[in-house]
């Protein structure tokens, strides 16, 4: 039987949709089409001399070693953030689900980092790891690791991955915990009675049952890693040293706002949009099949 909502007034459904459509238009369609248009132009910063150049900006990107570098950095960064964020949050949620005493305390503490603004989170980690005055940098020095993320690209990338993941763990944790707590206790008890240990219960019972949550979080985490990590990267390393932490979204900012090359920056943002769309499409097409909806 099909569910149908019937409106008595003819125009009412359209009227109700207008606010959402207006927001989508103003905040997505209009800027996106402007970006598409600008990506085919070469202009001076003030917009006084504009030339239409078809796809030259796009062609220039793919011959540019700095762009290839940022593709590589983005790939490493995004997958590291997404997978470690999910893995750690899953572990914490499983532990929080298991524990009896002070459960609320742990849950509250684990959720707090989500409330911290990205730039502030970045600055916090920056202070901890500052080569001259940071506590963790000092501790690392004591165990023989010479920490200087201002010079060492690998260390800088590690630092932004840690900072970005830390924030996201709380968000993932919340969803995982909710997912786990919605599993009927009777199922878990039945498995325990049948002799399944905690790990086996997790792998064969809990993990498949929270797969809708996992899938959702995977998509959200990847989008987060591609776009929302701009604040953290800008606050911690500004894309350096030597562009070791310049992700695609950061490069869009650098070339557009600092380099004032609006055509190339617009072309990059179009490519970025295409990449994320493709990634999301791939996820829905191939991974969603394995999700078991209750």
């Amino acid at each position: 039987m099909e569910k149908r909502v019937v409106f008595r007034q003819r125009g009412l459904p359209y009227l109700l949709l207008v606010p959402q459509l207006a927001v989508t238009f103003v905040f997505f369609i209009w800027p996106a089409s402007q970006a598409l248009w600008q990506s085919m132009l070469v202009q001076d910063p003030f917009g006084l001399a504009t030339r239409f150049v078809w796809f030259d900006n796009f062609a220039a990107l793919f011959g540019n070693p700095e762009y290839t570098n940022s593709l590589k950095v983005t790939a490493i960064f995004s997958f590291a953030v997404a997978f470690s964020g999910l893995a750690i949050a899953l572990l914490l949620a499983a532990m929080a689900d298991f524990v009896m005493r002070a459960a609320t305390f742990y849950k509250t503490m684990l959720i707090w980092p989500y409330a911290v603004a990205p730039a502030i989170a970045g600055v916090l980690w920056l202070f901890l790891f500052n080569p001259s005055i940071g506590i963790i940098a000092w501790l690392l020095g004591k165990v023989g690791v010479d920490w200087n993320h201002q010079l060492n690209g690998g260390q800088a990338l590690l630092l932004v991955i840690v900072a970005a993941t830390w924030k996201q763990i709380s968000y993932n944790f919340l969803f995982f915990l909710a997912g786990m707590q919605s599993i009927p206790r009777s199922l878990i008890e039945a498995a325990a009675i049948d002799g399944a240990g905690p790990v086996k219960r997790f792998v064969t019972l809990i993990f498949p049952l929270i797969s809708p949550t996992t899938f959702f979080l995977l998509v959200v985490n990847l989008v987060y890693a591609f776009f929302d990590t701009f604040g953290i990267i800008h606050a911690v390393t500004e894309g350096g040293p030597a562009q070791a932490t310049t992700t695609l979204v950061y490069k869009v900012y650098r070339d557009g706002f600092i380099g004032l090359d609006l055509g190339s920056s617009a072309a990059q943002s179009v490519v970025l949009m295409a990449i994320v769309m493709a990634l999301t499409f791939v996820q829905f097409r191939f991974i969603e099949r394995r999700v078991q909806y209750a």
Partner: protein
């Protein structure tokens, strides 16, 4: 119900009064000035604006802090594209080429002063400052405001402890290395550090030694300029610094002024940075006496020392406003370049006195005797008459080129590239950006 009429009547009167009130203030012509001076410098800027507003009643300057230099410039450009540009914007020296090339957006200062009939003498400004911001025909495009040049700050107490004369800063690079070794022997871990490495160790290094940075008079004579600093002794100097980084005669501390703490906590005994860092040094160098010296030079390079070039920013005027508002801008510029205002600004901030009159006034007030070392900057800037290698530089996309230079230098300090490789790479990447800039104006 009873008082409803009274309340309504009262509200109407109130609203009328409100409408009538601000009308008085709006009789003054409003002029908007966007700047990048934060913190203490911002307060001094606000004082300048307030004093100007108090000195006359036709115009009112509104000084708005827009963030750092890059953010301010970007904001002004975006505002111009949206038709919301301010009258005056403070742009740093590396943005000069971009501003100059935007002929349809800027209102050159020499034209502004002539059109509004405001008296203006470009010769009142010191030649090093003016040279940077004029066309080859000598027409001034922007109004100098806060110009600085790099100097050498040094730890007098450390010198004494190492058996050196605390009143004698090193004059040459070999001397500096010798002094650094002595202070290291006396227990100070590092010899010298630098801020703004591209500006100090490459751009000013080249000017101070009369070496070219690029063809076409460092870009003054054409957009088809090319970088050439990988063919000059700059490469040897960077190679030296890489060697010194190994023994901590030189220790890298960051791109802008992030290395300052190394000097303040006496880790490094010498610190090369802007003369405008003076206020910071004075406030933070609490446990020791410091002195100021000129930049060191290599005595075997012919022509050294020549003169150093300026950093800092100037004020550019943007088109698109009515004529009567530009009269106010011109009036403000006259006020700003008066000897009293410039002398006050110089003494409070460590930026250079940009007019000869302001310099003389400061001297006659005995400022340089009471604050020794504060005149080193201007002496160094005017050491000799500028040549085509030391007038300054004018490269498009220079903000990005500086970042490229920073990246390549960082690779050298980390030991992953030689100085030759890094400078070659920097020049190649920089030239690509110069060609892109040129293409935008075809």
């Amino acid at each position: 119900m009873c008082c409803r009429r009274t309340i309504l009547a009262g509200a109407a009167v109130f609203a009328l009064a409100l409408a009538a009130g601000p009308a008085d203030a709006q009789k003054r012509v409003q002029i908007e000035w966007w700047h990048a001076m934060g913190g203490e410098l911002g307060e001094k800027v606000n004082k300048i604006a307030a004093d100007f507003n108090a000195s006359q009643d036709e115009y009112e300057i509104k000084a708005v802090y827009k963030g750092n230099y890059t953010e301010t410039m970007t904001a002004a450009i975006a505002a111009f594209r949206a038709g919301q540009q301010p009258h005056i914007v403070q742009v740093f020296e590396v943005g000069t080429a971009t501003m100059m090339a935007a002929r349809g957006a800027i209102y050159p200062v020499y034209e502004l002063m002539a059109d509004t009939g405001e008296p203006f003498d470009p010769n009142a400004f010191i030649s090093a400052v003016v040279g940077y911001y004029t066309t080859p025909e000598g027409e001034m495009l922007s109004m100098p405001f806060n110009s600085s040049t790099p100097v050498l700050y040094y730890n007098k107490d450390a010198f004494e402890k190492a058996g050196l004369d605390p009143e004698q800063p090193p004059k040459t690079w070999p001397e500096l290395v010798e002094f650094a070794k002595k202070t290291q022997a006396a227990g100070y871990p590092c010899g010298f550090t630098t801020g703004w490495q591209s500006w100090v160790q490459i751009e000013n290094f080249s000017a101070w030694h009369n070496l070219p940075l690029g063809t076409k008079q460092n870009g003054f004579a054409g957009l088809d300029t090319e970088l050439v600093f990988n063919e000059t002794p700059v490469v040897e100097h960077i190679a030296n610094m890489a060697e010194w980084q190994k023994s901590k005669i030189f220790d890298y501390g960051g791109r802008r002024s992030d290395s300052a703490p190394k000097f303040y906590n006496q880790e490094c005994v010498m610190y090369m940075n802007s003369s405008a860092a003076y206020a910071g040094v004075k406030n933070n160098a609490k446990d020791f006496e410091f002195g100021i010296g000129m930049l060191p030079y290599y005595p075997d390079i012919e022509g050294a020392p020549q003169n150093s070039i300026i950093g800092g920013a100037t004020l550019w005027v943007l088109q698109g406003h009515p004529d009567e508002e530009y009269k106010g801008v011109a009036r403000f510029f006259s006020y700003l370049s008066s000897p009293e205002v410039q002398a006050w600004w110089h003494q409070e901030t460590g930026y250079l006195p940009i007019t000869t009159a302001a310099y003389e006034l400061t001297r006659s007030q005995g400022f340089y005797e009471k604050n020794p070392g504060t005149d080193i900057a201007i002496k160094q800037l005017t050491y000799k008459e500028p040549t085509e290698n030391s007038k300054g530089l004018r490269f498009g996309n220079f903000v990005q080129i500086r970042d490229i230079i920073n990246e390549e230098l960082e690779a050298v300090w980390a030991g992953s590239k030689t100085a030759r490789q890094a400078m070659d790479e920097a020049v190649a990447r920089g030239n690509k950006l110069l060609r892109q800039f040129e293409a935008q104006y075809k």
